[in-house]
């Protein structure tokens, strides 16, 4: 268990300290077809659309269900036409609290991270945040019974 309060820790911890180096990106002119295949291959719900190192948009599972499936869309059209343009971004030096704030308010699952030159460097996902939060709590309360019929041979520590 951390010594500091969780509140304090969230305000102190920087995003770059908790993110994984896993960024799925593509240029704006790839086709819908290629974009969806890329997401499926990488098992990713998003693509950060980057043009000349700048994050110009984000294309997500929501865009796929809302704008593409069951719509008469030509899958060879570029992803640029369907992405959400000008996504909110954060800097790797911003705090974890800022990321929680932004995701909670604006309801994003992924936020691109850019450096001081506004160049795309990474992405922070909602799952990374929740894993980080989960680690802040004592294991016992979180250790739900995985198998209800399991019987422990000895008491904990015994």
């Amino acid at each position: 268990m951390p010594e500091k309060s969780v509140d304090a820790l969230l305000k102190e911890k920087k995003i770059f300290e908790i993110v994984n180096p896993r960024l799925v990106q593509a240029p704006p002119d790839i086709s819908i077809h290629e974009a969806i295949r890329l997401m499926q291959e990488r098992r990713s719900s998003y693509i950060v659309v980057a043009d000349n190192k700048k994050a110009v948009g984000i294309f997500t599972e929501t865009d796929v269900t809302r704008k593409i499936l069951e719509h008469d869309v030509d899958w060879s059209r570029p992803v640029r036409d369907f992405m959400t343009p000008a996504p909110a971004v954060l800097h790797p030096e911003d705090t974890v609290a800022a990321a929680i704030d932004l995701m909670g308010q604006r309801r994003f699952y992924h936020i691109p991270l850019v450096n001081e030159n506004e160049e795309l460097v990474n992405v922070i996902s909602v799952r990374t945040l929740i894993r980080f939060l989960a680690e802040l709590y004592p294991a016992e309360i979180l250790n739900l019974p995985p198998a209800p019929d399991q019987i422990m041979e000895t008491r904990e520590g015994g």
Partner: protein, 176 residues
Amino acid sequence: MKIKCPSCGFENIQGEDRCDQCLHSLMQRDIPLPKKNDALQRVMMTAPISDLLTGKDLLVASTADTLQKIVKIFQGKNKNCVLIYKKKKLVGILSQRDILLRVAGKYKDLSKVKVEQVMTPNPEYVRGDDPIAYAVNKMAIGGYRHVPVLAADGTPLSIVLIKDVLAYLARREKNR
């Protein structure tokens, strides 16, 4: 006084070591406690999941529904996750992520694809009076962004979204 089993919700008589119904240990129920000075930790470990439900997220469909129908509902209602019931029992969950990874581009005609074929079967769930930390744990370990919330008899109450947890924490920050 009865002691409620943290696993199955069965009410045991006081002093039992294990739940009579599911044999889950009742010994750890009261430990550990949140640190006294830590407001955020306290709320996560004591506030019930029902606190953060908006009541707007519940959506239920059947295994026999078509993907076409589900996609239309997602589009019309601005939803991204549905619980799948069969004979009054929760048997699966279907999210936009499942649709993206398992359906998009793989089937020509969505009216011929049944929910059953592509849903994630046997999802983990929580109860409304479980602490928020339980839901957070399921999300962290399983990588889920949606966890069903069921009543003791298995009827669906809501879906807790990973966003709801973050929004709840963010709102708390604002209010202080």
